[in-house]
Symmetry: C2
Subunit: 493 residues, 2 copies
């Protein structure tokens, strides 16, 4: 597992290759022997775990509880909801047999033809169907509602073109599935969880997002409304980072989930579902990182501070160790994750490059001369600026710097997005702008046909109709039909 | 989801039915629409989450990192290790196709015959094969070792007879997979993780366990040694609660994982694997619970303390609320999970029975008269004893009581196990004792043939050869051949 630190492909040369290189070189993930499935390596998984912990806490703060539902879904369940089956029954992993046997010719193992399942089972692409089939037995009265449940799980969608974290056949995610007595309550829940996602993206990932609603073309299969948070990557493309769906009574009707309401009448239950996945890792990487490697927001960095000693002999190292050990202890007591790398089998230059590649937010370097001067060298990963500061009170300096980095990378990403967001009013300008990248705010007549045509001609889709879009009378660029507000068009991941 | 509190089947009447009833009535889990797969309900999952958090922390304290490997394993991988394929390639879920299509007759969706996979994929029954196939690229030198990795994952084994938590087709677990430069280091790792499991079982689950090594018959398919922790359930049967395997170089050889050792010679890597699963939930339930429901160890109880008010009117309730709210705050500040159930749609008697069923360790009841007297009623779930104690300093009383309950249920289980452990020296006594249940310490000649015959005739197997077994010369009950120590026989789950 010797880390080879070579130059990454530069973003300006090939953004896509830069991303692939970085995922591999920073030890985040790699392709597995199974088509389209990745191995998430310990460093990548440590970031995902920090995301999970934080999200889980935020979900629970809204009253959500975790549970676990089966991996496999009976094939017939998918057909129950007409739109859902169109969206999810196509490319999926199908279990048809439950036994292998030794090959008669001794060549290994083969599928036992006698062990064919009566009904094929699908590896869940999402769990609305099996969950609503379960909810039927859990809900009978309005007193059983709301039911607020989340599961952390793996899911599979047999994608043709895969990219690590962004689109893989198997991925890890959470899926919330809630049941409510009224339409209003379900709608409010869908919006509440969208807000949780947006808060998480902005406050923890330092990724600015636009909250909006999807057009019908981009809606989740089976939903009445799909809400989304959309982020902009450094190449100007959009990345849908989380979605929250108002499902109406569609799944309750498909799985016959009725309840006695507070007027003693039988009604179908109202539903939402909402999810984020390991795709967030892609958003994190592509929003902040640079040609030297990852740039991680301090709140999600597995190692927030690394300390590297510079010494010529054991005596100097002993002296440095004595200075550093209490600093490490103090930082840990402050809840800061710190690594003191005094391993002697790697040169400082190698360590510097490695921790830069890994996106460690703050690096401290201490040498004999620093000790004499009462100073220490500090490097911040976001700007790569180095400075010599006082050893006195270094812990508080570091803490403040971590907060500053968290703020700074968010602002930088926000500025970038603002600079790359354009208002466009005619289709020729639109085509040119889409080619250059960025979010394009344009008027749209509200029809799927127009959206389809734009997508065909420009590869841009409507990312969302922003929730805070200001009313503005206008006309569709293509059809000249009236429009009440601008929507966001972009090419996307 | 109205909870119906009916009498559980009594343990003395039908232990097995008592277990099944309890899992359902305490809202831990239920059968799903997919054969052999369960739904883990929020209350059951909350206990599992507490187990996970604690185990994860203990693993990480030994230097283990988490990662994630694919759910699906190419069929051919299973054949690489000769014994492993015998153990795991038989009853498993086989993915043969990657697409569904609309049925030509409009009857729903069917498997698209054109989407047959070139090589079938197996849903992991355990991940040694795919992980060692990955390690080949991660390990080249002794500097890359040890590699200490764990994953939390779902696995599937197509079991014929399933029971919730104890044996399900899909289950949740963690599997550690470590790679080492020397045999000694790998052996030490296998023992270290066994000790972690034993500590967790005894200190958190309050389940006493015997650490031992498995006989060849009961060894993990592909291991050189399997270490185990064995617990005794209240019906005198054994439950294997966790295993740790010393895999030698078997998987390294099967997947060609070599490294340059510190003498600059090429050698195969040494391996361990170790796992515990949602089966631990079964051990937890069956060790402590009684005819009134669950008894949970305070360290794993989602709710450690419940407070129920008794009042006749709003004025009394207001007075009680004013007393209880600061107590709740203080308990929470002490890290104690507390629920104040002042909901007015259920009578106190219903609440009492429900929290007993759910195994909440401590119940506090406060009425107007208690306030006048400066007292509060406390009930401990393990003994069901009630007493009236001073409101003054109630927080510290509760904290001490939680510790006492944790100790007490461990000691109770330990005493039970000790009482139910017998030394037996002839086969007739052995057969009689096995029929009555418990652990039977007997001499064994060390051959699989003798163990097989005993299993056939008595349904008892060797649970383990205890690590701390005292050397004792004896002779095998059946064959009269010499034996150096006693081993533990029992019927088991």
């Amino acid at each position: 597992m010797a880390i080879e630190i070579k130059d990454l492909t530069k973003r300006s040369v090939n953004y896509s290759q830069w991303y692939n290189d970085l995922v591999i070189k920073a030890d985040l993930a790699e392709q597995s022997a199974v088509r389209g499935c990745m191995v998430i390596k310990p460093y990548g998984y440590a970031i995902w775990e920090k995301m999970q912990r934080q999200l889980d806490e935020m979900f629970k703060a809204t009253g959500v509880q975790n549970a676990y539902f089966p991996l496999l879904i009976p094939k017939s369940f998918l057909s129950r909801e007409a739109e859902h089956v169109e969206g999810f029954a196509k490319e999926c992993a199908v279990v048809t047999h439950h036994r292998l046997m030794n090959a008669p010719d001794g060549s290994g193992v083969v599928v036992d033809p006698e062990a064919r399942l009566e009904e094929e089972l699908i590896i869940r692409p999402t769990s609305e169907t099996i969950i609503w089939n379960t909810y039927r037995n859990w809900i009978s009265s309005y007193r059983d509602l709301p039911l607020l449940i989340n599961q952390w799980a793996n899911v599979m969608r047999w994608e043709m073109r895969t990219r690590m974290f962004l689109r893989t056949a198997e991925f890890l995610w959470q899926e919330g599935h809630t049941a409510h007595a009224t339409k209003e309550e379900a709608q409010a829940e869908a919006i509440q969880m969208l807000n949780v996602y947006a808060d998480f993206a902005e406050k923890y990932m330092a990724v600015p997002v636009i909250k909006g609603v999807k057009s019908a073309n981009e809606r989740f299969a089976g939903a009445l409304e799909t809400y989304t948070i959309e982020a902009m990557m450094q190449d100007g493309k959009a990345l849908q980072s989380g979605t929250s769906h108002f499902l109406g009574q569609n799944f309750a009707k498909a799985f016959d989930v009725k309840f006695v309401n507070n007027e003693n009448k039988l009604d179908y239950v109202w539903a939402t579902s909402w999810g984020v996945s390991t795709r967030l890792m892609g958003a994190l990487i592509m929003t902040h990182s640079d040609d030297n490697g990852l740039v991680l927001p301090p709140k999600l960095a597995p190692i927030q501070v690394v300390i590297v000693p510079i010494y010529k002999n054991q005596e100097q190292l002993d002296e440095i160790n004595a200075k550093v050990n209490p600093i490490v202890e103090n930082l840990r007591a402050m809840g800061i994750s710190v690594k003191y790398d005094n391993a002697d089998n790697k040169r400082p230059g190698f360590k510097f490059a490695d921790y830069e590649l890994k996106g460690v937010p703050v690096r401290l370097v201490l040498g004999a001369r620093d000790i004499a001067n009462g100073t220490i060298e500090v490097m911040r990963r976001d700007t790569l600026e180095k400075s010599s500061i006082s050893l006195e009170g270094i812990e508080n300096t570091v803490k403040a710097l971590l907060d500053e980095i968290q703020d700074n990378i968010f602002k930088k990403a926000l500025n970038f997005r603002n600079e790359m967001t354009y208002k466009v009013d005619n289709y020729e300008d639109f085509k040119q702008q889409i080619e250059k990248g960025g979010f394009v705010l344009a008027h749209w007549d509200g029809t799927p046909e127009t959206e389809d045509r734009i997508k065909e001609e420009t590869k841009a889709t409507i990312r969302c109709i922003p929730l805070d879009a200001e009313p503005e009378d206008g006309v569709d660029m293509l059809t000249g039909k009236p429009s009440k507000c601008r929507v966001i068009f972009a090419r996307n991941y």
